[in-house]
């Protein structure tokens, strides 16, 4: 993926750029709004990481508004120290696609970038999802592993659907909380892990053919491998 990072803090920039390169992505960088707008408008990126408070006249939100008004639909992840719920809503209203507050774990950032970058390529009209021999029919709401039908409760279905839509990507606990339960807060305890292990018992009767892996320090990944 080709990523544009608009961020004025040098250490954060170094940390993110290095992490992205190690994960196999290329990253361009702008340390002020003017350069950021120029790069975003002149090059094609898969995803943009945008700080909100930038030096110069253009702050992150007006930059996003400007891009959206000019018809640029590149997914944007807002990375900001402004953590209030209202600030988050403001960011998403301005045209941001996701909002991550500082300080952040790099694993969280990478997982969210993957999800955003992949979204542009995904067709919205899929009716079945498939990972190895695990099949999900979104219309009849049926799930099967090979020939065996699996009965899931509505929330388990939603959880599995999210994991399957992001198959091959790391999905963090926070992403699951936000997208499956619509909880935008940290419930402190490991409730998500419990939901995952319950789901795992249902979709993986034989643990040796595991599809749902735990990724250390990050989250979970559903994949054929």
């Amino acid at each position: 993926m080709k990523v544009l990072l608009v961020e004025d803090n040098e250490r954060v920039t170094r940390f993110v750029t290095k992490g992205l390169q190690e994960a196999g992505h290329t990253a361009d960088h702008a340390d002020n709004g003017r350069d950021g707008l120029f790069l975003a408008a002149s090059e094609r990126y898969d995803v943009i990481i945008m700080d909100r408070m930038l030096p110069g006249n253009i702050d992150g939100l007006s930059l996003i508004s400007a891009l959206r008004q000019s018809g640029n639909q590149t997914p944007i992840l807002i990375l900001s120290a402004l953590a209030d719920v209202d600030e988050r809503i403001k960011g998403l209203r301005a045209g941001g696609d996701d909002y991550l507050t500082k300080p952040f774990a790099f694993g969280e950032l990478l997982a969210r970038l993957d999800a955003l970058g992949r979204r542009t390529r995904q067709d919205g009209t899929v009716t079945t999802l498939e990972v190895a021999d695990l099949r999900m029919d979104l219309l009849s709401r049926k799930v099967a592993r090979g020939t065996r039908q699996i009965l899931l409760q509505p929330r388990e279905f939603k959880l599995l659907e999210y994991l399957m839509r992001h198959a091959g990507q790391v999905v963090t606990r926070t992403m699951l909380l936000e997208n499956v339960w619509d909880y935008h807060f940290d419930p402190q305890t490991n409730v998500v892990d419990v939901h995952i292990s319950k789901l795992r018992q249902k979709i993986e009767p034989e643990p040796e053919h595991s599809l749902l892996r735990t990724v250390r320090n990050a989250g979970y990944m559903l994949s054929a491998e």
Partner: protein, 454 residues
């Protein structure tokens, strides 16, 4: 004295007195007019009757008889202030109390109110002029310019009433002003004390429901809120100092030790991971404190929407059921309200309910029960109840449970920083409600009361 004049009580009293006097005069004017008209009418009637009676005397006894009749009346002073004059065809005065026909009397017979010349003064009189056969002219009249004693008394009475009103107004104004000033003075003293930092002072209030008292009560409530907030800030600063310092100390020593000992990479990375975990703990405390501050400012109230509390609780329970099953706790949801809606912040309410359930699960031993219910105990309050079969809390713990960073003895060894219930309480307060704890056998019953729920 200038202060007296500028006092709003004085201005008020003075305007009321002026208004009263004006009203009195406006009331007296039509009254006096109607009364005078009635007097004029009856006087005219008397004068007409008089001249008729004299006409009868003339008819029966002739001019000489009338002259003696008039002279008798004037002599007996029955005439009083009346004007009586009989003249012959040459306008020569025959009898009466006027020396000659006065100037200014109209030529025709009839009754008039007109100024005529009496003793060299122009005087307003009411007259009845009659003519008898033979050119005799009779004038019966009365001076109306001169006020009768009754009229005089009327005006004296009015002046007296105005005087009484003035005196009462001034005295009343002084008394009201004195009472008002003493109350305002005490308010001013209290406020000065508060401004100097003595936040525990309150305005004096009485049992009456007058404006000043209502204002004082409102100000007192505001002071309570301010005191609470100021203490809250002081508590938080202390708590931050203590609770952030601990993980920061650990982090610092970990990093310093790492830098000093320079262990082999495997060990070093384990230490770095532990350091990251320390930082995460600091961040989570920080986030919780910021969220609390955000709630306490009350700013989120602007984003209130209609929240279905039954659905919210059902979802929270569904979220925690797998975690409860693992610990062999029976977590159930019971809706006893039928339907419960409140205007509120969806996100904060969800977090509050989740915190309560999380808390209950943490303290309930395996095999226990946690029950979440939405209820409507009466029409005015409604609430969310989370009841567990854990060890409960002592009275002191119940009191301190919502203090920031307070953790009961039972919570030693469990994860958490002691901000969960503070958040629940703050959310309940933002909703205009409260968080209450009650003992049950066994366990604890936590209730979020919503006064505004429907």
């Amino acid at each position: 004295m200038p202060f007296f004049i500028r006092s709003s009580a004085t201005t008020l009293a003075a305007s009321y007195v002026l208004l009263g006097i004006l009203a009195l005069i406006l009331f007296a004017l039509p009254l006096s007019y109607a009364w005078r008209a009635a007097v004029d009418d009856s006087r005219l009637q008397i004068l007409t009757e008089d001249s008729q009676r004299m006409g009868e005397v003339f008819n029966r006894r002739g001019a000489a008889g009338l002259v003696s009749f008039i002279n008798e009346r004037v002599g007996l002073q029955i005439a009083g202030e009346r004007i009586l004059l009989l003249t012959d065809s040459q306008d020569k005065a025959l009898a009466g109390n006027l020396p000659a026909w006065p100037v200014g009397v109209p030529e025709r017979t009839g009754n008039y109110t007109a100024p005529i010349d009496l003793d060299g003064h122009s005087t307003m009189v009411q007259l009845v002029r009659t003519q008898f056969p033979g050119g005799y002219n009779l004038l019966v009249g009365r001076d109306v310019g001169k006020l009768s004693p009754v009229t005089t008394r009327f005006w004296y009475g009015l002046a007296g009433a105005v005087a009484v009103l003035l005196v009462a107004g001034v005295v009343g104004g002084i008394l009201i002003r004195r009472a008002l000033l003493s109350r305002i003075h005490s308010i001013r003293q209290t406020v000065s004390a508060i401004m100097q930092g003595e936040l525990s002072h309150r305005l004096p209030t009485g049992s009456s429901s007058d404006e000043l008292n209502t204002l004082s009560l409102t100000i007192n409530r505001m002071l309570e809120q301010i005191e609470l907030l100021v203490h809250g800030i002081a508590n938080v600063s202390n708590a931050i100092a203590h609770d952030l310092r601990t993980p920061l100390t650990e982090l610092r020593s970990r990093l310093e030790e790492l830098s000093l000992t320079r262990p082999p990479p495997a060990e070093a990375f384990a230490e770095v991971d532990a350091a990251v975990a320390d930082v995460d703990r600091v961040i989570s405390i920080f986030n919780a404190l910021l969220r609390l501050a955000e709630i306490d400012t009350g700013m989120r109230r602007s984003g209130f929407v209609d929240v279905d509390l039954v659905e919210l609780c059902a979802r929270a329970v569904e979220f925690y059921v797998p975690a409860a099953e693992i610990r062999d706790i029976d977590l159930t949801f019971k809706d006893e309200s039928g339907s419960l809606h409140a205007s509120g912040d969806q996100l904060l309410l969800a977090q509050a309910v989740n915190n309560l359930i999380d808390n209950a699960l943490k303290y309930t031993p395996p095999g226990g029960k946690v029950t979440v219910s939405t209820m409507r105990p009466n029409t005015e309050t409604a609430g969310i109840v989370v009841a567990d079969t854990g060890p409960g809390m002592t009275a002191t713990q119940r009191e301190r449970a919502t203090e920031r960073f307070f953790r009961g003895d039972a919570s030693r060894g469990t994860p958490g920083v002691g901000l969960g219930l503070s958040l629940v309480e703050a959310v309940a307060r933002l909703q205009g409600g409260s968080l209450d704890f009650a003992e049950q056998q066994p366990g604890l019953r936590a209730t979020i009361n919503f006064p505004g729920a429907r």
